[in-house]
Symmetry: C2
Subunit: 339 residues, 2 copies
DNA sequence: GTGAAAGCGCTAACAG
DNA sequence: CTGTTAGCGCTTTCAC
């Protein structure tokens, strides 16, 4: 074990000495600047390899006032973070875009109030150049903290209170309206909804779309509100609906997981799908194909959402004019056999 | 919009001037040191609030040689990262422990070779005090990069080539052996296995346990190897097994997702579970209860794994003697109705 | 082309 | 108890 080496990492200075040049010159080659003789460059490259130099990010961030890193904050009730199929895709999409631009993505979890205060310090500490916020809710402590921060920011989704911050989202209302209409067009007369997460823009908008599609046929008694986009809440919601309106013949579930739970309850209740009752979901997550019958649903472009949010942040970091503050992505209906 | 303020953040100096003291004193109250008069303290607190001071993390990291942040690297094929139910729990567990110790957790994704080289720079840049590595494979580029780094490290799981680095894991082999034996004790004669991820310690060990449990009854023809712990691979694996050995009456699937896929194929093939064939899984993830019948499986303590790994890194950061390099967590069998 | 010098914002050691 | 003085490791003018 090289005991001395462990204590202190090599610095630019060590490299400069080893190569017989000055720190300035080393810095120049490190940053790919012109005006360095090829001899110096070669000597420096060799020295870097020899002493095992790796630039110190803290020092660099300090002087350059940027860190080449952007944070992605996930603020979910623990249980959902684990199961939500969209989160993973959003992460991957954002990471792809950031990676291409040579930025490091750091995903930060906001799971407690303690997390939130530590986070807002971290974010304003100069270790992060921008931030993407996933699944924020209105009146969210994180949203408030970030908006005070004056940091390049983009939201995935659109809580109402983010001022004119950039966001990329899907038009939940239009999509919900479209799929509900499509469900209605299969001849259903008594269409209900399992509506989740009404405290979020996505949840509230999907309900609004459902309502708009039904117009005068809308019956509040046929809407069951549940807290989460989860399988379990889908079961609960469907049970409640079945009890309250045994003659129900169509259901729009706010998410595929919800629909899968509902489907299970329907099977147990002996209702045939789609013969007796049609059901549609939202997300086109891995749940959709796994259901029996496969779910008709709205395809949510999760990867693209992540990518677009990352690009929005990158543009702000570079000081470019925002292409547009709001960006809406298409989400086509995928029609399968559940309705 | 306060246009000037946006340009430059307040520094310790601004606070010092505002409060009529020196930077040193400001620094003292910032770090909660003793020997500050209550008048100075009050004046400084007021000044901090007035100028809106937030400490600069880069500067602080640079001088203190630590950042109060630890990275958690997830290295998964994209698809799995999205679905693996354990990852989320591990993250949450690690975040909890780190948060309590006032460390910021940053989750870093390794999804491409570009990611990996950027990551290893990031990790050695002084912006991170330690690292937790989830789901590494043997011969993994990330593992190699990190082991060169001389950074406090803990693995979740146990690739063979991590030297004497700390790790926390479950004893996959013993657990697999136990549940296979239990399955055998229900009177099954022809027991097969859907074995996934044999390039990982977890996958290989589960197979070894299966084999050990069966002893002389072990029949290689009854093992189907698939790449991932996924629902889809479970379907494929079961189909292959059914074709090769129609008389099969028991299956150990390497994960609950696999088992769920297998169950689906079994239903389609008209086999009754558990009457005609018994099936057991691994993880006790949300899949298990969702299956019909609910899965008998091995309960994996994912949250505790995350927590323990975090604590191991924290101990190294603090320079404390490691309690033990290897830490094995219990994972009890949960017996339900699928066998 | 390259060296010297001046900080980035902060903490720590040392006088007072 | 508090001010002063050095840097942490790096980039960046500005002369030469």
């Amino acid at each position: 074990m090289a005991s001395e080496d462990r204590r202190r990492r090599a610095t630019v200075n060590d490299v400069a000495v080893e190569a017989g040049v000055s720190r300035g010159t080393v810095s120049r080659v490190l940053n790919g600047k012109r005006y360095v003789s090829s001899e110096s460059r070669a000597a420096i490259d060799a020295a870097i390899a020899k002493v095992g130099f790796v630039p110190n990010g803290a020092a660099r961030s300090l002087v350059m006032q940027r860190s080449q890193a952007v944070g992605l904050i996930v603020h979910e009730p623990s249980s959902l973070f684990i199961e939500d199929p969209n989160i993973g895709s959003i992460l991957l999409g954002a990471n792809e875009a950031l990676s291409e631009a040579d930025y490091q993505m750091a995903c930060l979890i906001a799971d407690s109030s303690r997390d939130i205060s530590r986070l807002s310090n971290y974010l304003s500490g100069g270790l992060i150049d921008g931030v993407i916020i996933v699944s924020a809710r209105e009146g969210d402590a994180i949203t408030r903290a970030v908006s005070r921060l004056d940091l390049p920011t983009a939201f995935v989704g659109h809580p109402r209170d983010i001022g004119n911050a950039a966001y990329v989202a899907i038009d939940n209302q239009t999509a919900a309206q479209a799929i509900t209409s499509r469900l209605a067009s299969t001849g259903r007369r008594r269409i209900g909804m399992i509506a989740a997460a009404l405290d979020r823009d996505s949840g509230a908008d999907r309900l609004a779309g459902f309502r708009a599609a039904l117009g005068n046929d809308f019956d509040p008694a046929l809407v069951e509100s549940v807290p989460l986009y989860s399988y379990r809440d889908g079961q609960e919601g469907m049970r409640a609906l079945l009890q309250r309106a045994p003659d129900i013949d169509g259901v729009f579930a706010s998410s595929d997981a919800l629909a899968a739970g509902a489907l299970e309850v329907l099977h147990l209740a002996g209702r045939r799908v789609p013969e007796d009752i049609g059901i549609v979901g939202f997300d086109d997550s891995s749940w959709a194909m796994r259901c029996d019958p496969p779910l008709s649903t709205v395809q949510q472009p999760a990867t693209s959402l992540g990518r677009a949010a990352a690009e929005a942040v990158l543009r702000q970091i570079r000081g470019e004019a925002p292409m547009q503050n709001a960006q809406m992505l298409e989400c086509p209906i995928v029609w399968r056999n559940s309705a």
